[in-house]
Symmetry: C2
Subunit: 217 residues, 2 copies
């Protein structure tokens, strides 16, 4: 049977860009690098951040901004590593915006910080639409979510500088075609770096760490 | 180190309720049952709907409304079963709303339909905030997403009549505590029915089918 298509347009973007630019100016003044990490719920953002902190915390000064609808579960995990953490509870909103980040940056000792990591709200849609002032945009797609997601959530994949394919340790139990996935991402975003990793076992993380190291130089 | 919490309030709900009520009146007039299925991207909504169509299509008349940011991948899969499918492309919006559903219902032959299934946009946040006129709300949480999600996305779990824990076939490969998960869901929503299933292997689906059958009586 044929499929009928309705196109519904909706104005979902606010005047967020100007504030994001100001955030960037503040960061640049303080020689901070800001990365914005986005994914679906449960794709492994917090595990990746924990691994990244473990790897870099003896060399550089790191702070984390945690975005969540509710709870401080992730922030509590990360603060156990003796890293400054700002929790933003969005009270229902499905993404962080530049004003929230401005408020969070205001609470950090930026002059003593090298790297600020944002863990955005778990969502493949809205977070990609709101510039925060980040220098680089990272997204995680976990193997169990399926290889068709670039077609269904194109903006997120278009915006990402690095696409981490997480949970490669469970690849044998899912029908995930990494070649088809990579081709779809490259079709949307030819310059995106695609890195298969397991934030749980550590497999593949060296490439992520060296990308981050190059970026911090 | 202590965690600082910022609370950010944002007005994200429109005047959607009135339209949802009108949708419900239209459905009731035509003796249609409408169910709204929500989950993260890749949790298995389409597979569940395919299994449900397979089970019921010889007994009752089913139509499907597919919500997606972009693409007709899911709608194409479902229309291959010779079921009427309305694709709503939200052009970036992260959820369906009652106006979109009104337009979709207008394209269906409601007087000849028993069950209308909505596959909402893959997202654990916004879809729960917008009433559509559905008689029952179903959510899927897949095992790889983790058992902490009720704490982090409470509204979705509070709104659901049935919570399907999908992908039980990969349970051995993940640290998913079904008891802790069920306790968290029951804490938010004591009347929610929690059903572990695998839409891939069919395991546990009998309980879902019999719940649906009872509801259709």
């Amino acid at each position: 049977m044929s499929v009928k298509v309705l196109n519904v347009k909706e104005d979902i973007l606010g005047a967020n860009e100007e504030k994001a630019k100001k955030n960037r100016e503040l960061l640049d003044k303080n020689h901070n690098i800001l990365i914005n990490i986005m994914s679906s719920p449960g794709a492994g953002k917090t595990s990746l951040i924990m691994q990244t902190i473990n790897r870099f915390k003896d060399k550089i000064s790191i702070a984390v901004i945690e975005g969540d609808i509710a709870s401080t579960i992730d922030a509590d995990k990360i603060s156990s590593q003796d890293i400054p953490v700002i929790q933003i509870n969005t009270a229902g909103a499905c993404h962080l915006d530049a004003i929230m980040i401005e408020k969070a940056l205001d609470k950090l000792a930026l002059e003593e910080t090298d790297l600020v990591i944002i863990e955005n709200v778990g969502n493949l849609v809205c977070p990609a639409e709101f510039a925060l002032g980040a220098h680089k945009t990272i997204m995680l797609l976990s193997v169990p979510e399926g290889d068709d997601k670039p077609h269904k959530y194109p903006l997120m994949f278009t915006e990402a500088d690095v696409v981490l394919v997480n949970k490669t340790d469970v690849m044998p139990y899912f029908d995930f075609d990494i070649k088809a996935f990579s081709a779809a991402v490259s079709g949307l975003n030819p310059s995106a770096r695609i890195l298969p990793v397991s934030a749980k076992t550590g497999e593949g993380l060296e490439l992520w760490f060296s990308w981050l190291e190059d970026m911090l130089k």
